[in-house]
Symmetry: C2
Subunit: 241 residues, 2 copies
């Protein structure tokens, strides 16, 4: 594809008060674009800005705009990028790798990301744009059946052991491979790394023990593509040794 | 490869008193051979027969013999089969699919198979060749720090809910795909199906609720390759509705 086409991609993302990208699903697409060597124009939105920007058509980011295509949902976007830019490095070598990464996502989202949200939902509130906080609290507390963010997270440290245990398959795999994808990173790495980017951007409680063997993979993954993730701090993820 | 070469494969497997194959890892290789359209001569061993047969070189099955090659460990064998029979349907389309299936195995073995062993260790004992039972009990109870198989499994029904919950990623994935591998089965399916074959061959306590949505995948998977798994009963896996 011509460079002009590449630069015609807009990525709508969600940012915190400090400007950091704050959605693990947007991070997936940031990685996907970098994997394919595509640049984009980032459009930074607040939580409440999403519905306003798309007139209610999309309620979540990532959203990309590419020519006449306006599309939400990170999986749809990832698959679209392989179709739209077939001559660029592929995100998925074929249907079997795609299916396997989908399975990894089913596991990782239900076992890990869900636990992370439970730990960090109040931290997201506190780090959000001030104009977003009332909306965020109201929408999240509705899902908590009226419980406040404060009471929901009061005992959150007690959930850390289960979360750390749930990462065991990643540790076992990364004892054999440099990346989840093997010698080189694939979309499973981006799914995993994106969740840690998101956690690192809001966490006031460290997620991992100081000697967690995941650190080597996180260091490698955050440094990918010229350090695209360098602005996401890795230190908040780790307890002090 | 010539048909003669195909038929030169011997698969050493572990069988129960009733002759059924009793190792989830042997089942993986049974599926792998079928996937590649290879036939083999099955050599049925008891637990205590394994060390005797290989003079202590191998303590576990599967073991395959192919020409001068004698090899244990299901993963080594699976990768060997793709190298030795490159013109047959591949088990792994490339390194990314291989790495992803390895990751699936790291999750499935630690989260699911380990829980299954906890449920069924006494059932394996009871279904084993009579000559194996003393050895099996002694070796397993040693790992249980002296606890008997009976006391270890006395409250086993209380572990069923956690095991069923741990299968949620499979259910989520199979709501979108016919197989874990997508439209067609891959080695991740064989890893999963093999564990259920093994459980079905020994279970005196049903593993799954009558309406578990995994049933459609299990039916499809057990019927693969001309019903190679038809001799493994599917009904013992399910509570009566």
């Amino acid at each position: 594809m011509a460079a002009a086409a590449d630069h015609s991609i807009k990525l709508f993302e969600l940012v915190l008060e400090d400007g950091r990208s704050a959605s693990p699903f947007v991070w997936r697409i940031r990685y996907a674009l970098a994997h394919k060597g595509l640049t984009c124009e980032a459009v930074k939105l607040s939580f409440t800005g999403i519905a306003a920007t798309f007139g209610g058509r999309f309620k979540t980011v990532p959203v990309i705009e590419h020519g006449a295509t306006l599309m939400a949902e990170s999986w749809d976007i990832a698959e679209y990028l392989d179709r739209a830019f077939p001559d660029r490095p592929r995100l998925f070598s074929g249907p079997a790798e795609l299916a396997m990464v989908r399975l990894m996502d089913a596991w990782f989202t239900s076992e890990v990301i869900r636990k992370m949200f439970r730990l960090y939902v109040k931290d997201v509130h506190d780090a959000a744009h001030p104009e977003d906080r009332a909306y965020f609290r109201q929408s999240r507390e509705k899902n908590l059946k009226g419980e406040t963010l404060e009471s929901f997270t009061a005992e959150r440290a007690t959930y850390l052991p289960a979360l750390r245990t749930s990462l065991a398959p990643l540790r076992a795999h990364l004892a054999k491979f440099a990346y989840l994808g093997g010698d080189t990173p694939n979309y499973a790495d981006y799914i995993g790394l994106s969740a840690f980017h998101w956690a690192a951007s809001v966490a006031t409680l460290p997620l991992l023990a100081p000697d967690d063997t995941l650190r080597a993979w996180l260091d490698r993954g955050f440094a990918l593509y010229g350090g695209m993730g360098r602005d996401a701090r890795i230190n908040p993820l780790f307890e002090r040794g």
